[in-house]
């Protein structure tokens, strides 16, 4: 029983394969259809136009790259000069005053950030300093 079913299945499969092949064969077109598509009017003209536009695009792209490189060529010395000036300024700018050396003067109080004081503390101490001065 199982063998009969298997045989029938194989026959079905063969039939399906044959039908599949027939379907594929149906894709075969006659020479007239091929000729009609191949000799379609303006097809070659369309190809030429596309090729020319593509070539123009490639040339334009290349032109843009060249222009960009040209700009970069001019920009490089300028950027080098700016970098040199910037590094020179960094080099010659006076170093920040050490907060410990101005601890006793009024300026030391202004560097509240460095000593961990908030702006309110600084204001309070300034007001207190003024009051003390007036009292004196």
């Amino acid at each position: 029983m199982w063998r009969i079913r298997q045989n029938r299945c194989e026959v079905d499969q063969q039939k399906l394969d044959r039908l599949g092949e027939k379907l594929l064969e149906a894709l075969e077109v006659n020479d007239n259809d091929i000729k009609t598509a191949a000799t379609s009017p303006f097809l070659y003209r369309r190809i030429r136009v596309r090729i020319e536009s593509e070539e123009r695009r490639i040339t334009e792209d290349f032109g843009q790259w060249v222009a960009l490189l040209n700009q970069a060529r001019h920009a490089v010395p300028l950027m080098v000069m700016i970098a040199a000036i910037a590094s020179g300024l960094v080099w010659y700018t006076p170093k920040p005053i050490n907060p410990s050396s101005t601890q006793n003067s009024g300026i030391g109080v202004l560097n509240g950030e460095l000593t961990g004081l908030s702006s309110e503390d600084i204001m309070a101490s300034l007001i207190g300093w003024d009051e003390r001065k007036e009292q004196q």
């Binding site: 379907l23 149906a26 075969e28 598509a37 070659y44 593509e54």
Partner: protein
């Protein structure tokens, strides 16, 4: 006068046609006429290949157009050599163009996935029942529509391999050369394609 014309015609008949390789060399150096000649020679070949995968004339024209544009810009890569190498090279480009288009269609779901009409289903039944009928499926509009409708349900890779194996009668090694895929992949794909086609046919019978 007539004699002179005759001798001119005789001389022009003796001038051998330039080979594809010679035309490629000329086209590379910017000779538009040489490329035009290559187009005239091989346009039908590309059209025939296009019709294997696409039903509408506009689609086939699109394939011809794309293939020749790709070929033009790839002329520098063409190495030439034997007699049929330009055709093989162009065939490879056209095949890849068809494959790309099939994949694009699949992505856009443009395939005609509609159900079969009663006529088509009846036709399919008849063909299955009467397997002895040979040849009458060919050429008729209904069978071509049906074939495209059913085969468009296959994956593009499967369809490509089935077409090359069954219609073009190419060997696994030749398909590997054309597609750039490994032979193992092609064997596996062809097996899957056969199975897929059977499944599709069973579904509609």
């Amino acid at each position: 006068m007539a004699d002179k014309r005759k001798s001119d015609a005789g001389r022009s008949a003796q001038v051998p046609e330039p080979s594809d390789d010679e035309l490629v060399t000329l086209a590379r150096s910017g000779n538009e006429g040489a490329f035009s000649k290559l187009y005239d020679r091989h346009c039908k070949f590309v059209a025939r290949l296009g019709y294997r995968f696409f039903m509408r004339r506009e689609q086939v024209e699109e394939i011809i157009q794309e293939s020749f544009i790709k070929a033009y810009f790839a002329l520098g890569d063409y190495q030439g050599g034997n007699e049929r190498s330009f055709v093989a090279w162009l065939g490879r480009i056209s095949l890849h163009t068809c494959y790309d288009e099939l994949r694009r269609q699949q992505r856009r779901s443009e395939r005609s996935l509609g159900e079969l009409t009663e006529d088509e289903a009846a036709y399919l039944h008849l063909q299955l029942r009467d397997s002895s009928t040979n040849g009458n499926i060919e050429g008729t509009a209904i069978s071509r529509d049906l074939a495209h409708k059913l085969l468009s349900r296959l994956k593009p890779e499967d369809r490509l391999i089935l077409t090359l194996l069954k219609l073009e009668d190419l060997s696994i090694a030749e398909i590997a050369g054309l597609t750039g895929w490994t032979e193992a992949k092609i064997k596996m794909r062809s097996h899957r394609a056969q199975h897929g086609l059977r499944k599709i046919l069973k579904k509609f019978l």
